[in-house]
Amino acid sequence: MKLFKTDITKLSDEALMSRLIKSNDSIALAELYQRYGKKLLGYFINMFKGDVALAEDFLQDLFVKLMDKKHLFDTEKKFYTWVFTIASNMCKTHFTKMKLHYGEEEIIEGSKAFNECATNLHNEFDKQVFRLLLKEKIAGLNYEHKVVFVLRYHQTFSLKEIATITETNIGTVKSRLFYATKQMAAELKEFDPKLESKLFKIN
């Protein structure tokens, strides 16, 4: 028995994982959930086109996996890149299953419908419509481009961290980011870029 109780909130992620590995410390797991639950939920929501229920299921599954595979964690490495790697792999598996079940064309069918909608609304589109279309375009990205895009612009990971999470190199990450943006820009070409100054006032 320790004489002084350790303040769990002051421990690093890696120290918490060590406790989890050594003694199945549920308090350590709860603390990790407290720190990363919201971020990971947001990540899943963005990866799954705003499907909150599905994102919550994935978040729960992720922490179950984390308990099952805790022995695979290398305490010398960063916890958050490891946990996001697991999350990204879960998304990858999900997208692969979706492709097998429904085919890629059906997945992006919604995007086509939105393109038509955008054409009809060409004269009166606004920022709200642009956001809706953008959401669809992000959802329509293939997994490799989407995961890089979300990690970069939602979780604000560095290119190096994204490379670690996606198990690629920095060059590939840069390239995927560049082409993901370019692809969406091509699909949203119908929007009048002259309105940029009015609608998309960039900070």
Partner: protein, 198 residues
């Protein structure tokens, strides 16, 4: 190939961080060799708006299914050993203040004596007879006569009527007080005034 990657990376950095208008003339000219100003603006809009879109997901809170375990409740809460020891010491201190040790010792002695006299066996019972002799009461009466008592003090008291014994003297009423013996009613002149008398 590396030159192409470097160029893509450079353009991406610019799009992420600056509006087209904020680029220097040199940067603008260099960018325009690879991408139009409209495309640059649209790509930047995509990145900025995507950030805003992604932020919407942060409004959702994860279910607290693990946090409940984290708190644990009062009964399952753990405290450090030193806090437990301090609590015990505080209890003893409080007891000492309320019930000083001296009183505790006295109580121990009393209980010790009680333990020695454990069981009493009463084998013989003696009944004592106590005889009480009561002396007969002697009542002495002293009669003091009034005359004597009065003589003793020198006062001569007159005899009282009720102390005179009754006499046998009977006066002759006919002879003394009533010389005439009277007459009968028929001789009385006043009888006419009486009713029903003939």
């Amino acid at each position: 190939m590396k030159k192409k990657e470097a160029l893509e990376s450079w353009i991406t950095d610019l799009i992420e961080n600056k509006d087209f208008n904020e680029l220097s003339t040199l940067e603008q000219n260099h960018v325009l060799e690879h991408i139009t100003a409209e495309d640059y603006a649209l790509e930047r809009a995509i990145i900025v708006e995507s950030k805003q879109l992604f932020l919407l997901a942060d409004d959702y809170e994860p279910k607290q299914w693990l946090n409940e375990n984290r708190s644990g409740g009062f009964l399952s809460a753990t405290i450090p050993l030193y806090q437990a020891l301090l609590a015990i010491a505080a209890v003893f201190l409080l007891l000492y203040i309320v019930f000083p040790f001296t009183r505790v010792v006295t109580e121990e002695n009393g209980s010790h004596l009680t333990a020695q006299v454990d069981t009493l066996w009463l084998e013989t019972i003696r009944y004592d007879t106590v005889e009480v002799v009561l002396e007969k009461e002697v009542v002495k009466e002293k009669i003091v006569y009034v005359s004597q008592a009065a003589g003793q003090v020198g006062n001569k008291e007159k005899p009282r009527l009720f102390n005179v014994p009754p006499s046998n003297f009977k006066p002759d009423l006919n002879a003394i007080n009533f010389p005439n013996k009277g007459f009968s009613l028929k001789d009385d002149s006043m009888r006419i005034s009486l009713p029903n008398v003939n």
